[in-house]
């Protein structure tokens, strides 16, 4: 068992519970991998239901990103959803949603260098490189937060 699975096994009940946890973990991991992309549909599920649920997970993740950084759907417009799908397929949700929003924004900058919204997004994400900062007198070097 991995270090995350160590349970104090005192008796047969504990052993059965630990096994039940392992079995449940396997089933849920298999399903979630399929839903988040990166795994085959587990046996016995309705493919239509899996598709609907997977779309729901993606939409929810995208919705939260759009809520936390409304500038993203505002700037990207119709590109927001398709780009987010591509990003999400390659980047599982790891940290929190704020980190996800920022990571998507940075990814979008690299993924669509000739998009009409690219300069605006670059200014949003990297204000130190903005025109105004270049015009202001140089301050002592301090890394941009």
């Amino acid at each position: 068992m991995s270090e995350h699975d160590e349970y104090l096994i005192r008796d047969r009940d504990d052993a059965e519970l630990a096994l039940a946890r392992r079995h449940l973990a396997h089933r849920q991991e298999e399903l979630l991998t399929a839903l988040l992309g990166g795994g085959p549909a587990p046996a016995g599920f309705d493919p239509g239901q899996l598709r609907t649920q997977a779309e729901g997970l993606l939409a929810k993740r995208r919705e939260i990103v759009g809520h936390l950084m409304p500038e993203l759907p505002d700037l990207l417009g119709p590109d927001f959803a398709p780009l987010f799908r591509r990003y999400a397929d390659a980047h599982p949700l790891a940290g929190g949603h704020r980190a996800d929003a920022r990571a998507f924004a940075d990814w979008a900058l690299d993924a669509a260098p000739s998009a009409s919204w690219h300069p605006a997004l670059r200014r949003l994400l990297r204000p130190a490189a903005s025109r105004w900062n270049r015009l202001l007198p140089r301050r002592t070097a301090k890394s941009h937060p």
């Binding site: 089933r27 991998t33 016995g44 239901q49 993740r61």
Partner: protein, 279 residues
């Protein structure tokens, strides 16, 4: 704790920071529910402090504890939920019968638990751990599902009934979620209501949604519709809910519309209460 310990809450609305002043001024709001993860126990939003000072009950509702996860609920998440409960003086907290993570990945969503007797042992164990760490009673909510596990041995209501019997956990019945499962999975809400031990009912969720291409989306951003209110009526025929809460998470309508939705909920509840009193 005996079922008598379930507090009378009345009709309430989900507190959201975007509508905080609206909630403060909405007539007839007897209590509010807050998403626990959005509240910092050390720095309560001023608007929530206003409500607390007025004597409005605040109930924390968790969305990421993962009582249906295969692993035990994390100590830090339980501690956080407990801290919020204490900070707002809540009489109870609620969470979901769902898993939210597996294999080190977050689902970002509430997913249905496989409902086998084997999985029941795990969820019951998780509920007991949570109850040990929480300073107030816990209520579990049924969820809106878009998929069904192969090999389910119990319906959601049967699973919840087993949990109530094994752990004494309370119930948060979401009538919109029952409607969602009717549309998406063909589950009969009334049959499910009949399987639930409603004497353990802590409160009820009511929310709006929308149907798209034959799938019901429990959005919480649409008005409450008649089929959902019908499920509420069916519930009120069977039990008098200690609390009913309107959930709205976005696309906030004008305050008058929110007020009207609360009134509609109150009417359904009061009508059933009068009818069952006559019998």
């Amino acid at each position: 704790m005996s079922p008598d310990a379930i507090p009378r809450l009345g009709v309430g609305v989900g507190w959201r920071s975007e509508i905080d002043t609206v909630v403060e001024r909405l007539p007839g709001v007897e209590w509010v529910e807050v998403v626990a993860e959005n509240i910092c126990a050390d720095h309560l939003p001023p608007s929530l402090e206003v409500l607390l000072a007025r004597g409005v009950t605040v109930v924390p509702h968790g969305v990421s504890l993962g009582l249906g996860d295969a692993a035990e609920p994390a100590g830090h998440r339980l501690a956080r939920l407990a801290a919020v409960a204490e900070a707002v003086g809540a009489p109870l907290v609620s969470e979901h019968l769902a898993f939210v993570r597996a294999g080190g990945r977050e689902a970002g969503h509430l997913l249905p638990v496989p409902r086998t007797r084997e999985a029941l042992r795990v969820v019951a164990a998780n509920v007991r751990i949570a109850q040990r760490e929480l300073p107030v009673p816990l209520a579990l909510e049924n969820i809106a599902a878009q998929l069904a596990w192969p090999g389910d041995e119990l319906t959601e209501a049967q699973f919840l009934a087993e949990l109530v019997e094994r752990t004494g956990v309370r119930l948060l019945v979401d009538v919109a979620n029952l409607h969602t499962n009717r549309v998406n999975l063909g589950v009969d809400p009334v049959a499910e209501l009949d399987r639930l031990p409603l004497e353990a009912l802590a409160y009820v969720h009511v929310a709006g949604g929308v149907e798209r291409d034959g799938v019901w989306h429990d959005t919480h951003t649409h008005p409450v519709t008649a089929p959902v209110l019908d499920v509420l009526a069916a519930l009120c025929e069977r039990a008098d809910p200690p609390g009913v809460l309107l959930e709205r998470d976005g696309a906030y309508p004008p305050p008058a519309e929110l007020s009207a939705e609360l009134d509609a909920i109150r009417r359904v509840h009061d009508l059933r209460a009068r009818e069952t009193a006559r019998v």
